[in-house]
Amino acid sequence: MTKFFSLLADGIALGAVYALVALGFVVIFRATGVINFAQGGLVVFGAFLVYQAEQTWGLPFWVSALFAAVCVAAIGAAFEGLVLRRMIGQPIFAIILITIGLFLLVEPITTTIWHNPPGGIETPWGLSRVTIGDVKILQVNIATVVLGAIVMGGFFLLFQYTKVGVGMRATAVDQEAALAQGINVRRIFALSWAIAGVVAVVAGMMLAGGAGPAPGLSVSLAVIALRAFPAIILGGLDSPGGAVVGGLIIGVAEVMTKGYIPDLIPSLGPEFGDIVPYLIMLVILLVRPFGLFGTTEVRRV
């Protein structure tokens, strides 16, 4: 049972990270109808910027995090304004490809700037553990869940109770109608990318700090972030609540599989956990093509 609970803690922490990344996808998708493949790249870039500010410039952890969040939010908004703005009205496939192009840019740029940093990010909680009963839980996992909850809670408050949030929801329903009501749709687009940037930084920072079974600070964090795709498929592309639920389910399922499969079916190997999110996604898509909480797409003839 001890193993179960410690795996559960890992899984929930990883799930919180997935939920954050997935939230970034959903925010952009709702506002602009685009799936942003570059989200994984923003996660990596955010993590490295925190490293830069903290380790190279010697800033305190929270200041570094703030700095990275502002930078990545600006990068996201700038990319939207400079590149994607020109693509409005183009086929969805073309727009997805542009974000894939951005994703492709991140790896060579980060490896060129930072090479392979010897250390990682130093977090206030480090690698110390809390013991509850027999179960030892990494503090970073607890911090991830708490921080994730704060960021996501803040997002829901913004979304539900502020004027900007109403504007975002209106834009998601109908861009033209929102424009006609005097909502600045361009600003909503830019803001969506900025929010996606901020959640990406939080996710990247926690992954690089050791949340879940993560490899620490490296460009392969992008591959982990890609596994948030199954989370949004599970939750539904346009449902922020679904992103959170989907992220948690995928995170727990992945860690549990990694923990138990090597004992139960040794031939599958621990790597099986890496593809479990995609397998879950395939099954869900065959049963419910629009996810658990997504809006069913109406096809007009």
Partner: protein, 384 residues
């Protein structure tokens, strides 16, 4: 009269012609002559580049049928390329030294790859029937990772993490005449393996291009494009979505797997990991069709030559250490610890920028540029 007037399309039959103008027929003959001559004229390194470009062109034409003509974006190319390459290793005698696999003739395992690719494509195409656009991209993304896992675990077929050697000969014997494409002797002259592979690959580029061109310019092609433009409307006028969506997947996957065999022969040795068969490989194929021109076949070929040759061009023409003039910022370096892009990183950045720049400024790709040049001269001196 007939020759000149063909420059303008006047009726439907003209539009459907495979080679509508005398100029096109002449240039085709010139290109075939070039195909026969080039391996004699260039050195091994450039032959290797052109061989790779040919392999990429075949895969890109297949992907273009699916993505450009049928509107089904797919990130799954790497999975099919991997399947083809490991078929080459297993059935072509690459692993015969370890007592595994078979040693078939090159055309036999190319055929096995076609069939296997078609079958896998059919299985993938079935769920794709229910999914569109965004969802399809994500499912095919998942396919890349699942395939990579399968390659790493299915050791009998792929050699697992150690990888699989590829066939060292690709010989065809017709009794009275035989040739080994990896060590060809043509007219008494020995050519290198890359020249042979280049002959093989570009020969198949011609075959694939004609095949796909014939699909897209006839009834099935019109059906595919109807599905792309509005699938509900296509269904209403009697186009079977099942037949054409799944059909496009089957043909495209078969071609991709076929290209995978040649890719395996090109590489010589293949280890299944993120760098060799990961997402980036799939993205490169998408880059080829975007840069070349989505929905045109010669565009795929042009794109393949450009993208396939890019690493070599950088290798050859970019100096090892290069600083920005005036400011003196280091841009390129071959020193691992120093500031500046390595040449590999530079190639990736150029891929990425090509995708973005072409999509934003020239969505019809190189083919669009070429068409504009053509139009300029067709109506000369009254061009606008």
């Amino acid at each position: 009269m007939a020759g000149a007037s063909r420059a303008m399309i006047r009726n439907y039959a003209d539009d459907l012609r495979l080679f509508p103008t005398a100029a096109k027929r002449v240039s085709l003959v010139a290109l075939i002559a070039l195909y026969l001559l080039v391996p004699w004229l260039i050195n091994d390194e450039w032959a290797s580049v052109l061989a790779l470009a040919g392999v990429v062109a075949i895969g890109a034409i297949g992907l273009n049928l699916l993505t450009g003509y049928t509107g089904q974006p797919s990130l799954g190319m790497a999975a099919f390329i991997g399947l083809g390459a490991f078929i080459a290793g297993y059935f072509g005698g690459g692993r015969i030294a370890d007592g595994i696999g078979y040693e078939f003739n090159v055309f036999v395992y190319l055929f096995i790859a076609l069939v296997a690719g078609g079958v896998v494509g059919f299985v993938i195409g079935l769920p794709a029937l229910r999914l569109r656009g965004n969802y399809l991209v994500i499912v095919t993304l998942g396919l890349v990772f699942v395939a990579l896992y399968v390659w790493q675990k299915w050791t009998t077929f792929t050699g697992g993490n150690e990888g699989s050697p590829m066939p060292i000969k690709a010989d065809v014997s017709l009794g009275f005449w035989s040739i080994d494409f990896l060590k060809p002797t043509v007219l008494g002259k020995d050519l290198g393996p890359k020249q042979g592979l280049m002959y093989l690959a570009w020969g198949f580029v011609i075959v694939t291009a004609l095949l796909v061109k014939n699909i897209v310019r006839t009834r099935p092609g019109r059906a595919l494009q109807a599905v792309r433009d509005r699938d509900v409307a296509a269904e209403v006028v009697g186009v079977s979505l099942f037949r054409y969506k799944v059909g496009a997947f089957v043909i495209s996957s078969a071609i991709a797997t076929f290209a995978g065999v040649l890719y395996g022969l090109y590489l010589g040795y293949l280890t299944p990991d993120q760098t060799s068969l990961g997402l980036v490989l799939s993205i490169q194929f998408l880059a080829v069709i975007v840069v070349g021109g989505i929905g045109t076949i010669y565009g795929s070929i042009l794109g393949a030559i450009l993208i396939g040759a890019l690493p070599k061009i950088i290798e050859q023409f970019v100096p090892d250490n290069w600083n920005l003039p005036v400011l003196g910022w280091p841009i390129v370096t071959n020193n691992a610890g120093a500031t500046g892009f390595s040449k590999g990183a530079l190639a990736t950045i150029i891929y990425a920028l090509l995708i973005i720049v072409f999509l934003v400024f020239e969505p019809r790709g190189l083919a669009g540029i070429w068409r504009r040049i053509q139009a300029y001269f067709k109506t000369w001196p009254f061009s606008y």
